[in-house]
Each structure stands twice: as structure tokens, then as C-alpha cells.
């Protein structure tokens, strides 16, 4: 097939971009390549990457999930309050994860059964979940989570010298990669995004697939909430604001089409790393935080424009 090399090029484009970015940053400030800094970048990236993995599933079906930041805040607050109340750390974490799954599934049900556009549905639940977080926490941070080793380790610990959030991210990546590329469920996710009519006419329950992807997205938001809560040793009611934008940016930078049906989760990982390296690099180089936002926006725009050019 003559176009397979072109396919590969467009798939590897984001990776090439990431490598170039790393080279530029390390030339301008060699301390970027220090182990401490690299782990620092990876630990920061882990929170947004995990959310972006879930977002990839949603975007592959042609949807979008704007509620992930609020889901993160609410699940983080629930986990923190349970811990502060002396509940077993594993149980607390489990409750938070299941809550994330349910909040996501609610999005899915509104979208499929209520036939509400994903953008609108999750815009509404974004506000609702944030509001519930404020009600639940009374607008105040929750701290005093105790000193359970297992929970403390989750965000701050190391395993053989590697930060545990990084390991969590890798495990999540491997599992989700397997689901997306090796299981019937993954195939159906692509099919629903590629052509929902054709998928339905092939006996695929598109509604169930869609509810599933939003549940996954909610679950991943909760997972990332646990890392954040452990790292900060407290839950902030305003946590996770605008995280949905970084997650969407990572998915798009990774080459996944917002129209659905096209893309892969490895691209999302690369996309999340590009954003992480860009943030960290600009800090190291000393770019003002105001300009950082301008640069980040332009990079996203350029990446999408380049992708458009290639597909023409």
C-alpha cells in the first residue's frame, strides 16, 4: 500500500514534534534534562494525561466531555472527606473512583437517551458537578487527611526511583491501549465514531458504547483527582478548573480527529507530554506566565493546521 508510509508519517508527526521541542528546550536550558526535572515534568503530566486518555475515548466517538474538571473536584472532595473522617484509604479511593464512573455515565445517559448534544450536556453537568462540590465542601478546602502511607504514596511516592503517579499513568495507558485496540469494545468505539449509522445497522448498540466512554472519562477524572489530592494533601473545591481544555488539547495534538473515528491513544500521551514539556520549558527559559498562554495556544493551532494540510 502506497499510502501506508504517509499514514505513519502523520501518526508519528506529534512524536517528531515532541522530540524537536525537547531538543530546543534542552539547548536553551540544559537543566531541563536533569533527572529531577524530567520526573517533575512527568509527574505534572500524569494528572492531565490520565484525564486526556479518558477524553480520547469520548472524542473517538465524536463526542466531548467538558465536565472532567468538575468531576475531578467532586470526586477529590469526596475522597478527602472520607479520609478525613477516618475511612479506610482503599475504600475511600474506591468510592471516589466509582463516583467518577457514575458521574460520567450520567453524562452518557443524558447524551444518548436525552439526545442532548455532548457539548451542551457536559457543559451543563460541568456546572452542576462544580456546584455540588461547592455545596459538599461548603466552599472550603478539605485537609487533615491523615497519614495513611498508601494514600500519601499515591501522589508523592516513588517506586524503584520512579514517581508513583508516573507508574499509574503508564499502567492506565497500557490497559486503555489494550481496550481500545484489542477488544471488541474498542473496535465498536471506533465504529460508532466512524459512522454511527453503519455501526447501528451492523448490530452495534451505539448508546451503550457511548455511555461507556463517558463512564471511562469520569473514572479517569476521578483517578487523576486521587493523585492530585494526595500530592496536595488536601482537596480544593476549585480544583481542576479548565483541565478539560488541556485534555482536549492533548487529544487534538495527538492527532485524534474531533469528528470521531480516527486517532489513537498513544498520540494523546504524546500530546500531553508536548503540553507538559512546553509548560516546563517555558518556565525554565523564563517566559512570563502571560506569554506562556499565548505560546501554548499558538502551538495547538499550528499543530491542527499542519494536520489539516497533511490530510488534504
Amino acid at each position: 500500500m502506497s499510502n501506508s508510509s504517509k499514514d505513519w508519517l502523520s501518526k508519528l508527526g506529534p512524536l517528531i514534534g515532541l522530540i524537536l521541542l525537547i531538543i530546543i528546550v534542552s539547548v536553551m536550558n540544559p537543566s531541563f534534562l536533569s533527572i529531577t526535572n524530567i520526573f517533575n515534568v512527568l509527574r505534572q503530566v500524569s494528572i492531565s494525561a490520565i484525564i486526556a486518555f479518558g477524553m480520547t475515548f469520548v472524542i473517538l466517538t465524536g463526542g466531548i466531555d467538558l465536565s472532567v474538571g468538575s468531576t475531578l473536584a467532586l470526586t477529590g472532595a469526596v475522597a478527602a472527606s472520607l479520609l478525613a473522617g477516618g475511612v479506610d484509604p482503599f475504600l475511600s479511593m474506591g468510592v471516589a473512583l466509582i463516583l467518577g464512573l457514575i458521574l460520567g455515565a450520567i453524562n452518557g445517559v443524558i447524551i444518548t437517551k436525552g439526545k442532548v448534544a455532548p457539548f451542551i450536556a457536559t457543559l451543563a453537568t460541568m456546572t452542576v458537578y462544580r456546584g455540588l462540590t461547592l455545596v459538599y465542601t461548603d466552599g472550603k478546602p478539605i485537609s487533615g487527611l491523615g497519614d495513611h502511607l498508601s494514600f500519601q504514596m499515591f501522589g508523592k511516592g516513588y517506586f524503584f526511583g520512579i514517581p508513583i503517579p508516573v507508574i499509574t499513568t503508564i499502567i492506565a495507558f497500557v490497559i486503555l491501549y489494550f481496550i481500545l485496540h484489542k477488544t471488541t469494545y474498542g473496535r465498536r468505539v471506533y465504529a460508532v465514531g466512524g459512522n454511527e449509522e453503519a455501526a447501528k445497522l451492523s448490530g452495534i448498540n451505539a448508546d451503550r458504547i457511548k455511555i461507556g466512554v463517558y463512564a471511562i472519562s469520569g473514572f479517569m477524572a476521578a483517578l487523576s483527582a486521587l493523585i492530585l489530592t494526595s500530592r496536595l494533601n488536601s482537596a480544593q473545591p476549585t480544583a481542576g478548573q479548565a483541565y478539560e481544555l488541556d485534555a482536549i488539547a492533548a487529544v487534538v495534538l495527538g492527532g485524534t480527529s474531533l469528528n470521531g473515528g480516527k486517532g489513537w491513544i498513544f498520540g494523546t500521551l504524546v500530546g500531553a507530554l508536548i503540553i507538559g514539556v512546553l509548560n516546563n520549558g517555558m518556565n525554565l527559559i523564563g517566559v512570563s506566565s502571560f506569554w506562556q498562554q499565548v505560546v501554548k495556544g499558538i502551538v495547538i493551532l499550528l499543530a491542527v493546521l499542519l494536520d489539516r494540510k497533511k490530510s488534504e
Binding site: 473496535r187 465504529a191 459512522n195 453503519a198 448490530g203 448498540n205
Partner: protein
Amino acid sequence: MIQMSGIKKAFNGNVVLNDVQFTLEKGEIHALMGENGAGKSTLMKILSGIYSKDAGEIKVDGEPVHFKSPKDAEKYGIVVIHQELNILPDLTVAENLFLGKEKTYGKLGILKTREMEKEAKELLSKLGLDVHPKTRAGDLSVGKQQIIEIAKAITSDAKYIVMDEPTAALTDREIQTLFETIRELKEKGISFVYISHRMEEIFAICDRITILRDGQYVGVRNIPETTFDEIVAMMVGRELGERFPERKCEIGDVKLEVRNLSVKGIFENISFQVRKGEVVGMAGLMGAGRTEVGETIFGYRKAHSGEIFLDGQKVTIKSPIDAMKHKIGYVTEDRKTKGLILNFSIQDNVSLANLKKVSSSGIVKKEKEEALVNQYIEQLKIRTSSPKQAAKSLSGGNQQKVVLAKWLGTDPEILILDEPTRGVDIGARKEIYHIINNLAQEGVAILMISSELPEVIGMADRVIVMQEGKLTGEVQKEEMTQERIMHYATGGEQVV
């Protein structure tokens, strides 16, 4: 006067018009007839500048013209009113009439609203339409909207108006009003091209008929001097030859029975049976509701009433998943939007309806998948470099075989084929006919929806005919002629 001659047009090497001629006199209503796919729409799209011609000549009042866009054609007064009306429902009647040619004070774009409304009112009353220019266009009936479209054409000084199936959605009364309007405009020297499948209407309003068949010009007839039968014969008369392979098979018990199936506003009281090993053709014109019947049996559409029996047992089918559990397969009419996921490879498309078969505990097994797809690539002679080739890069015939492969994989006992050879070249067609015959010989009950009469006659054991949502006739193998089927499909008088 418009003269088109030697018009040729091909899409991707597929010739759709070859040496076609057409003349439209001043003040004439000229019908253009032909089966689906005969080239009527393409010819009119060339006339109105939407498509460019590959060869041939168009003259308007003796002057050769070259249209590059619909705007060019409009300068010569050629306007097309499409089947899907171009009315913006939320604008008023007057706003619709002057859309894109608003009257303004100077160049600032400040609208002369009152003047436009006054003009609109005059124009509409001339056309015998009594509506207020400030009425929201979407609140009018389709018939009135149709007349607004004509009024729009007149405001842009149209001399030649092409109407594509103008009466498809109109009531009898609205049709009468439309005809009166057309006749009045004809008196004023405006010419009409009238595309329709409805024979009575054409005989009621038109002066002449040009007939196309398979992209060729067949002839032109003056209305009072011709008959329904002559026109039908001209439309369908081609030799069947050896295009359809012979089938010898045992027709068994009734496999599928549909009783009084109805979907409100689309079709009603459809009842028929299909036996094991039988190929039942379903004929009719575009929009007769055949695809919708197929989709309803397959559970993709919700039936409002009616029953479905399989092997004499009543079944409830609420979704394609239910239908597949009952071993029903459905090869959709439109493979690009409903049959295939174009970005998917052949293999992924074939697997789509067979994911259970090629996986174990939810994990797709590459070996099973490859075995399945390779079996069908060989069996159906799908021409491809690799099972990983994307479906969108295949030819129409091969795409259709991929859709067939997807359904054969489910081992169907009932197979609904909707236009199984549309856009498929002749060689691949015959291979698809062979596949259909083999399935029938294995005892599969087949419902074949097709707009191509030769195909229906060549392949079906029995034909049922639909017209405008109703089952209007059934023809046995021995009695099948194109004329007879066409009469049921157009609602013409019954042939004895």
C-alpha cells in the same frame, strides 16, 4: 430556445451521458423521462451549470454558451427548482423572494423593506397565491412553497425553469394550482423542463417528452400522438441477454411473513411473504418507501403497526441487534453512509457485524478475524492488495462485496438486499448475481429491493411492487414484463 446536442459526461471513467440531445422551445413544457439512473438529473445539472460537460454543445437562442457555474446559467435565464426546496423557513415570504437580490438604498445595504413587500405581493397575486408577504415561509404548505420557488425564479427573470419532481409532496389540489400557474407562465413565453415519474401528470401538462435510457437519448414524442405504453417501452426497452445467470433451486416453506406493516406517513399495510430459497424482488420508484420497509423489518425503524413472522412464529424486532439474533441480514442501499465505515479496512468492516464470532471474552482474535476476511475475499473475489486496505479506496463493486461479506459472515437465513448493484460495473454485477443465486440455493430467503427492472426480472422468482407507500401489485415469474411492473409502480392503468 435551448438546444443541447452531443452531450457527454463521465464520472471516474463511468459514462453516464453519451451523445444526448435535448431541445426546449420557447413557451413549451417539456417532460424528461427515464428510469432511475438514466441520466436525467445529470443532463439538467449540465444545463444549469452545476456540472461541466465532457463534450457536446449547448446553444441558447442559437448562441453557443459555456456555463461554469449556476450563476452563468442564471444570466441566460435558466433556473432549476430542486426536489428539496430552497426555502428558508424562518424568513418571510418577501425575504425569501428577494434573497441575494435585495433592494437597498445605495450600497450600504439598508433594505427597502416596504418596496420589496409591495412587489412580492403583486407578484404573488399574479401567480394566484393569496399570502401575505410577511408570512413566515415555513408556515406555508409545501404546495405554496413550490409556487414561491417559481416566483423566486421569476424575480430573477427566468425564461427556462427546470422542475425536478415538483409534485412529489403535493396534494391533488395543490397540483392543480401549480399546473394553472405553469400554464399561465407558459402563455407568457416561459419554458419548463418537467422531470417526473408520474405519467398522468406528464400527459396532462406537457407538450413533448424526451426519453433517456442508460445515459443515451432514445427519442422525443409529441404528447397527443403517443401513449403510456409507448413511453414505458422506450424507457425500459433493453435486451436482457445473458446478464443474469440461471438459478435452479428448491423453494421451501415460508420463512418471512410481514403482515400489515405500517410506519406513519411513509408506508402502510404492507403484507408479503418470502420463502426459503426464494428471491422476491421489490420494485417501485425512488421514494416509494421500499428502503423504509427493509429498514423496518430489520428493526432500524420503528413500526407503528403490523406483525412479522419467522417460520410461522410471531417475533418482535426492535433493533438491528434483535434482527441479527433472528438471523436477518440487511445490505443497505447506500453503502457509503450506511453500509461501510469508509476509514476502516476491509477486515475491520467485515468484522463489524461478526465481532462475537472473531473474539473470545471480548478480545478480538487476529487469527479468527483474518481467516474470516480471507475466506470472503476469496469466495466473493474481492479485488484488493490486502485485507488492511481502506474501504474508501475500493471500487463500487468491491465495496459492495465487502458489505455482502460482512453479512454472509453472520450466516443469515433471511437477507434483505437494497439496490445490491447500484453503482457497480457490469462484471462485478454478474458476480453479485452469482452470490445471490448461491445463497438462494443454500435456502436463504432473499428480499431484493431494486429500481432496475431488468435486474428484478432477471433475478426474482416473484416481484412485489410499491407505489407511494402502498403495495400496488404482485407479479409472478411467468408474467413479468417491465411494462407491467412499471404500470404498478407509476400507478398507471392496470395491464390486462
